[in-house]
């Protein structure tokens, strides 16, 4: 005679493989036992799973039984099933982001003069990713927009605040050199002209 424990273990295996609700009648036939006994075994199993607060439970549907997940965990299952797309920043985006981070608030003109190249698209992209944002307007001619980093930027890099940014030697000197008057700013303008 097959022991009760063996039968219950076999029922578990069978429920698991079957997936769909498993008719008590079918299970009973396999063990050549009467329907009521098989049903009681299923009910015992069901109670065990419930008592232990397991992540999987056994539900009864019309004289059949089926494994299902505990409703309470649906949030985690959702998170598990949500696909994740990983994105990386391009080299130029990282450069612009670094300039904004270290020199903020900063105008597009200043960024472009430091990098020596137009940055409209890159700035747009960083704004869309919510890593930088408009933080005001300069008092200079044309009242250009000033850019700064956002809380999202801090969070993504795990900084508490901007003081957490790693020190970069010489950043000041390099960036300052470019700012000298008579300088690149105008050159930048002339480049624009040629382009158009």
């Amino acid at each position: 005679m097959t022991s009760k424990k063996t039968i219950k273990s076999a029922f578990e295996s069978m429920l698991f493989v079957w997936g769909e609700p498993l008719d008590v009648k079918i299970a009973a036939e396999i063990f050549n036992m009467n329907w009521k006994d098989a049903y009681d075994y299923f009910k015992e199993l069901q109670a065990e799973y419930e008592q232990e607060g397991r992540g999987i439970l056994i539900r009864e549907i019309d004289k059949s039984f089926q494994f299902c997940t505990n409703m309470e965990n649906s949030e985690y299952i959702e998170r598990l099933c949500t696909p994740v797309k990983e994105k990386r920043l391009s080299q130029s985006a990282l450069e612009v982001l670094a300039i904004v981070a270290y020199k903020q608030p900063v105008t597009k003109g200043e960024i472009e003069s430091i990098r020596g190249i137009k940055c409209d698209r890159v700035i747009e992209g960083l704004m869309k990713k919510d890593l930088i944002a408009e933080v005001g307007r300069s008092t200079g001619i044309g009242r250009p927009i000033l850019y700064g980093t956002t809380p999202v930027f801090l969070k993504n890099f795990g900084f508490k605040d901007l003081k957490d940014l790693p020190d970069i030697d010489d950043i000041g000197s390099v960036v300052r050199e470019e700012e000298e008057p008579d300088g690149l700013d105008l050159q930048q303008i002339s480049i624009d002209f040629i382009k158009t």
Binding site: C81, P83, V84, E86, E95, Y102, F157, P166, D170
Partner: protein
């Protein structure tokens, strides 16, 4: 002895050789090469007689066995009689057989594992559709990468600066919008007029850069409400007049007051 077998039950020449050695109850470490070689060749010939398509590898091993067999016939003492034994011609063969046997055993073990695993069942993935939401996009931001990129950039920049320092910049002198605005203000003052034609702001030598700069400066002055511009027809002359109401209202620059008064 007749072998009613197909050769393809052997996985290769070594498999056959190992079978023959074991069948003859020989120790792998002391193979009677002559006996085994004869059996091996007999086998192959039987196969040929049965028209079995023999893999060439079986012949290669046959040749190797014959070579070992012939070497075994030679005295292994050195000619000078110093009694040094040459290496046993079977050594390499034994090594190879042992290695083959090890993996054959491993294969048997895998077979057992496989047999057990076949008795374990998994369930397919559930229908995840009810749980699936829009993909979460996340940005992979690595601080090290961030700093590295910036360092590289700064270095490149510094190198450029170094190079630039060694050359004197030969550039057209260019004028800023600010100084051009100043120039236009002064022009009004010098000419003592309240109204000026845009052309009058330029000189005959003005190049395109200067024209554009003057135009931009004019726009800036209009924005500051320092001047009022009028153009009667498209592409027509632009007349500028000093804005009398510009009483230090805008930027509060002292020069502005001077001009107006």
């Amino acid at each position: 002895m007749s072998y009613k077998i197909k050769l393809d039950i052997f996985e290769g020449p070594f498999d056959l050789l190992v079978y023959l050695i074991e069948n003859a109850r020989m120790s792998v470490y002391d193979i009677h090469v002559s006996e085994i070689t004869n059996q091996y060749i007999k086998y192959i010939e039987d196969m040929k007689a049965l028209d079995v398509n023999l893999a060439t590898e079986f012949m290669v091993l046959a040749a190797a066995l014959i070579e070992i067999k012939s070497k075994m016939l030679l005295p292994r003492m050195k000619a000078d009689g110093e009694g040094l034994l040459e290496e046993d011609p079977r050594t390499e063969l034994v090594q190879r057989i042992l290695e083959y046997k090890r993996f054959k055993s491993a294969a048997e073990l895998l077979e057992l594992q496989e047999e057990q695993s076949l008795r374990i069942f998994e369930k397919p993935k559930e229908d995840l559709a009810p749980y699936t939401r829009e993909a979460d996009e996340y940005l992979n931001l690595d601080l090290n990468q961030f700093v590295k990129v910036f360092h590289l950039f700064l270095e490149k920049k510094k190198r450029l600066e170094e190079i630039k320092k060694n050359y004197s910049r030969v550039e057209r002198q260019k004028i800023s919008v600010e100084s051009r605005v100043e120039y236009i203000r002064n022009l009004f003052r010098f000419k003592g007029k309240k109204k000026l034609n845009f052309r009058e702001l330029l000189t005959p030598e003005s190049n395109r850069y200067e024209v554009v700069l003057t135009f931009v400066s004019m726009l800036e002055m209009i924005r500051q409400k320092a001047v009022v511009a009028r153009q009667n027809v498209n592409f027509g002359e632009i007349y500028l007049s000093l804005n009398e109401k510009d009483k230090n209202s805008g930027k509060g620059k002292p020069e502005e007051g001077e001009i107006v008064s």
